[in-house]
Symmetry: C2
Subunit: 771 residues, 2 copies
């Protein structure tokens, strides 16, 4: 049945018998031919050195049979000076290989992965290591083309001290595969890496690490994810999605990541001594979300995690009774002990995902009606410098949870509901701007958990023993905590710095001479500012925006830009990473063009629009998204938009994806926009992604919707977060201003509706299910 595999394996084994001599040869290679030769000739102990410089289109298949004592090494001549660019990848097969100090940039892999611990099913990697390597922005040009950057197969492979950032296309950054006996129980190590920013993707399949899939929820993994630094890993609601058993997530720092560590299809995970740092600047920073069986969540520290529901600091989910394999299993036998939450919003949310209200619009196999059982939440500490209205939110039935010895200092505001907390006053010492440690603290109650294995919790967050004077919360010893600071040098390559120069932005002056504006935009450095010094500018071809750039009037008076380009072309053509700010500019079109539009394809990265104190007049579309394009932020303030056929159309994508994350209009005026005033769309139902945010506040809408066939002024089908507040709608010829989805986070208040239809909230909406 699988004869080919066997023949090849047998051959390889025979070859390997001739290769047991250990050598210490080093060979410097200068091109891929030399490299391939060196790989073929490598023996245990060989070192292959890639010469400094740019290696373009390097399709490296590194197969070798090293030994534990004499691995085969592939490394850069000088760390940081070997650049892998173009269409390149590095796939590994064999055993005991090392790869060191490469830098992937300016390109992408033409395959399903950049680094893959398998060449083909007959050449799987075991005991191999990739270290000290950078992958930066090596993202596929088409955002909707799927790949992973690192694919783990085999057993005992390692990725350490790497820096990885900027994946903006579809697919997890790292995935561990479990496609057979030869890949399970694999003990892979993902340690001491620096996972730099991953932008919001708008939809699922954008985790930073995914371990397995729903079909592997019975499979033992023993994958270890430890001592990594995650910064702004905002791809989707799951930073890490754990889908096999017995994996460990310990001593990681999650710094301002808009997602959670999610125990999605896994069981018996160890989640210990992680630090989650959030802030006031986002409501999306998440903590730990719990599904399934037997997890131990201990010694973790959460600071200003303000996410809600699926992104709660601690989200313990409801399950589906007798769930299908790919859906939510009831939480059973979970232990949450000795964790600390500081200034988090509703740190405990229990029964998250309970959706009995949707029983009429969802199939029975989607109804999460099984609350957590046989779960223990004990010896935790919650401390708030400002009191929290609801430190615990109960979505269903908590009688299956044993709460014991959880101490709450809610800044004098006692929370006694559910009788789950001991309300106390704790004296805290602030060690730095996110770390608070109790100076006095309650002892833990171990003894009552006899038989529950609480003796497993040997040390605290910073490694201090819990043998003596064991305390509630994540930190047992003030002294060790006082010495703690984040040491970025332990994450990522030793030769690579993530520090960014913060220089003053360059300011360029543009006159209205034909072509000058376009030329200056092209010449400007990222972050540059162009001041328009004349009063009126005529533009005849699209302006290409492919970096962070600001256009603003020179003085206080507004400047006029008149767009005379062809029909169907945009004034501002948004390219990947285009980040456009306009201030004090009046824009006028010819009625048949677009004000803003992303490229029709290859929008590898997101674009942004920040428009303030402007006006836009006489276009066919103000903004029209293309399929696969994604705007992270579209933000209009104090801007007038008028006399156009269509407004903002962000409705080109499908199947759970959507075209923009944060869409905000504040203090704007919309006048005589005939149709599609705002059409913001997400197709299909995938409840684990929670995106699309539309905020309309203090705007005036007049005389819009004349030719709107749907009869609906603001169309937001499938968008999860909509807030329409304090707006005035006047003389808009539509049946409805908006049709909101009550069960999701759709709200309206204080709007004035004059001769404009009404706003209706439908609590439940029926959508196509995507999985």
């Amino acid at each position: 049945m699988k004869h080919n595999l066997l023949i090849v394996l047998t051959t390889l084994l025979l070859l390997s018998c001739n290769k047991t001599t250990k050598v210490n040869d080093e060979v410097l290679v200068r091109n891929t031919n030399e490299l391939q030769n060196a790989i073929t000739q490598a023996q245990p102990g060989s070192t292959i050195i890639l010469a400094n410089g740019i290696w373009k289109d390097a399709k490296i298949k590194f197969y070798g049979l090293g030994t534990k004592d004499a691995p085969i090494t592939l490394k850069a001549e000088t760390p940081g000076e070997v650049f892998i660019e173009g269409q390149s990848f590095l796939h590994l097969g064999g055993t005991h290989l090392n790869v060191e100090s490469l830098y992937f940039r300016n390109g992408y892999s033409p395959k399903s992965s950049i680094i893959k611990y398998m060449i083909n099913k007959d050449s799987i990697a075991n005991h191999t290591r990739v270290t000290n390597t950078v992958i930066e922005g090596f993202t596929k040009p088409n955002r909707s083309t799927n790949d992973r950057w690192v694919e783990f197969y085999g057993k005992h492979n390692q990725l350490d001290h790497c820096y990885i950032s900027g994946k903006s296309n579809d697919g997890e950054t790292i995935r561990v595969f479990f496609t057979g006996n030869e890949h399970i129980n694999n003990h892979h190590q993902i340690v001491n890496n620096y996972f730099g920013p991953r932008p919001r993707k708008g939809g699922p399949r954008a985790e930073t690490i995914r371990v397995g899939d729903s079909k592997t929820r019975f499979t033992p993994g023993y994958v270890n994810v430890s001592n990594n630094y995650f910064e702004a890993c905002n791809g989707e609601v799951e930073i890490i999605s754990d889908k096999t058993n017995y994996n460990s997530f310990t001593n990681n720092i999650f710094y301002k990541c808009e997602g959670s560590l999610v125990l999605r299809h896994s069981n018996y995970a160890t989640v210990d001594s992680n630090i989650f740092i959030g802030g006031d600047d986002s409501d999306f920073y998440g903590g730990i979300r719990v599904v399934n069986t037997g997890h131990w969540i201990t010694n973790n520290y959460f600071y200003k995690i303000r996410g809600e529901q699926f992104r709660s600091p601690l989200a313990i989910m409801n399950g589906i009774p007798m769930t299908p394999l790919n859906r939510y299993k009831q939480v059973v036998d979970v232990v949450v002990a000795n964790n600390t939450w500081i200034d988090c919003k509703s740190p405990f949310q229990i029964g998250v995902g309970q959706n009995l209200a949707s029983v009429d619009v969802l199939p029975k196999s989607e109804i999460r009606s099984a609350p957590p059982i046989r779960t223990t939440i004990a010896n935790n500490l919650i401390y708030n410098t400002k009191s929290d209205k609801a430190p615990l939110i109960n979505h269903d039935d908590m009688s299956g949870i044993l709460f014991k010895n959880n101490v709450l200092d809610n800044n004098a505001n006692v929370f006694s509901e559910f009788n789950v907390f001991q309300n106390e006053t704790i004296k805290m010492k602030k060690i730095n701007n996110w770390l608070y440690v109790p100076e006095t603290n309650n002892k833990v109650l171990d003894s009552v958990f006899n038989g529950y294995d609480f003796e497993r919790i040997k040390n605290d967050l910073f490694g201090s023993s819990r043998n003596d004077n064991n305390k509630v919360g994540a930190i047992n010893q003030l002294a060790a905590a006082e010495n703690f600071k984040i040491d970025k040098s332990q994450y990522g390559p030793d030769w690579f710095s993530t520090e960014i120069d913060t220089t003053q932005p360059n300011v360029l002056k543009a006159s209205s001479n034909p072509g000058e504006l376009s030329k200056l935009i092209q010449q400007a450095q990222p972050g540059g500012i162009i001041e328009l010094t004349d009063t009126e500018y005529s533009v005849s071809t699209s302006l290409k925006i492919d970096k962070d750039i600001t256009l603003r009037a020179n003085g206080e008076n507004k400047v006029e830009i008149i767009y005379k380009g062809k029909a169907h072309t945009p004034l501002f053509e948004m390219h990947p990473k285009g980040n456009l700010k306009l201030q004090n500019i009046n824009i006028t079109g010819q009625g048949n063009q677009l004000t803003f539009a992303p490229l029709a394809e290859n929008m590898a990265s997101a674009y942004n629009l920040f428009i303030e104190d402007c006006s836009i007049d006489n276009f066919n579309y103000i903004l029209k998204a293309s399929k696969g394009s994604f705007a992270d932020s579209i933000n209009f303030k104090k801007t007038v938009i008028k006399n156009s056929k269509n407004g903002f159309v962000l409705a080109a994508d499908e199947k759970g994806d959507y075209n923009a994350e944060m869409v905000t209009f504040n203090n704007c005026e919309f006048n005589t926009i005939n149709q599609n005033l705002i059409h913001f769309y997400r197709g299909g139902y995938d409840e684990s992604t929670i995106g699309g945010v539309l905020t309309l506040s203090n705007n005036l809408f007049t005389n819009c919707g004349k030719t709107e066939k749907s009869g609906l002024l603001i169309k937001t089908p499938g968008i999860i977060n909509v807030d329409i507040s304090d707006n005035t709608f006047k003389n808009n010829n539509v049946k409805l201003v908006a049709l909101l989805w009550g069960e999701k986070n759709n709200h309206h208040k204080n709007n004035t509706l004059i001769n404009s239809g009404e706003i209706i909230v439908e609590d439940q909406q029926k959508l196509e299910i995507l999985y």
Copy 2:
């Protein structure tokens, strides 16, 4: 939430602090009061001795806190002379307890279990042991009342050297529970026990051992079931039902058990070095049935296992795509290596349970369309002294299985279909009547499974090392195998023998004097024979049959029995264990009575009827089952049944249960039975039980069914095995003779139908699903 538990536990722990002195006291107790006192006063090292004799209604709650070095012991004064009878049980709580040498008989537990490793949720047993103990026929009076005989809770508990037999009521003999963190990872030991006969129950919930349930399919068990002897454990299709992970089943002997070791909801089971001995006398002896993920099935030996489908020697099942938790998961990552099958029928059945043909009558979540994948079947040996038509049956797609180095000696009849076997001639040595060992043998192919962990298979079935000259099949060394014999002394208590005296049956002579027949039946020993010496007997009250007894004519001429009892009473009242044989007797009723009927309730055990060369005339019912009653065998040969309103009604049960296992009519005549000629019924659909067997061969049916409202002569709804062959149906006024269920094992052939309707086969029948 669970404060009571905590208070009690805390109290117990405080008490335990005062009890650390180790003592060596022994106390003899004579009644339950003294026993209770002794338990209360016991300290580490205490021994409580139960005085010889009968302990009636002993409700023992044995709580104590022993230590590893000084356990607390409860034991019989003399092993085998302490009988626990009446309504009794033994529940254990605390730690390090021993129970030795008790004998449970003549009674039943009034609770859900006899032996339970928990007194209540605050008093769970850990590190306790029950040894050298017998539970024999301690079965609840009502067969449909559910209990278990041994319930495991807590951790590290043991049941060893016990003899357990005769459970005939609903519920597994042993169940291991996993109802919380305090019961998982429990490492319970079930070792060196002798599991004696468990009769066919007729429906599910009659396993001998069940480990967990469908809700625990993610839970690690580490339960060890080793070195046990299972004899005629025929309760249902599953001898053992494994439903948690990482359990071991090793070195057990399954002797003539009509079921299988079933990996039902478990994963990563170790099934090594077990012996399955069947025979030609039953088609129900089973082997190993495989569902789920990651099992290793190695070194097992199968002799004359002739079960089919679910009971195949090796049944690898199809799964349901994205199955609900309580249904069939696809087989993945399973290894079947180094096993031996001797004279088995179709030893490999792959894709068992594939039911795509039922797609119209079953919900989608019942369709097993996912064939096994990533599974390895290698280095096995199949040897047949008579050639087998199909050593492998493929029910679906086998491309996901790697077959390698499986050797077949099919008695010169090459089987090359599917290309999965190496056909060879093996020289075998017959060691005893079931053990065949190769004198020469092929080597295994380890090397091709590099990375597959085949080095795990260190020894063979009899413990010989596989390091040198490793061979295919379960046995690596002829020498060690030659010395093997089953040593029954290592199973069960040392003081208890399972050998049965085989004495000649007693023959009594009964004249027709009033009351004499009834009296002799009462007086006869089990196995006794009563010969009727006169020609005509008048019986006025029911004859009570509560043992194995034969009634037969003295000579060659038939004897007449005329039943003159009240209406609605049976001539033969069948009691539990009633086993009635009639030979050469003509029976006549008054038209309003029953010939045979079990008790209306408390039919704790099955009854049997063997009727040969008789005639039965003029009754209301020939046989009418009561709810909860069960006949193991109903066997009529060369018997005339006539002039009665109803025939055989076995239709009192519901929900997957049924009233008889083997119903056989051979060479009989049915004449003028007006309705319910045969009504044999099983309600509801539970595809994992495969019971109800109706065999009709060479019978003559005349003039029956006159008042049959259903229009159906032979009614068998839900019965899985029906064979109607070589019968003649003449002038029966019905629409249909039978309506058979084609998808199940329902067949008909060579029947002659004259003016009697027809036999129809419906391939698919729609039934209520029970789970």
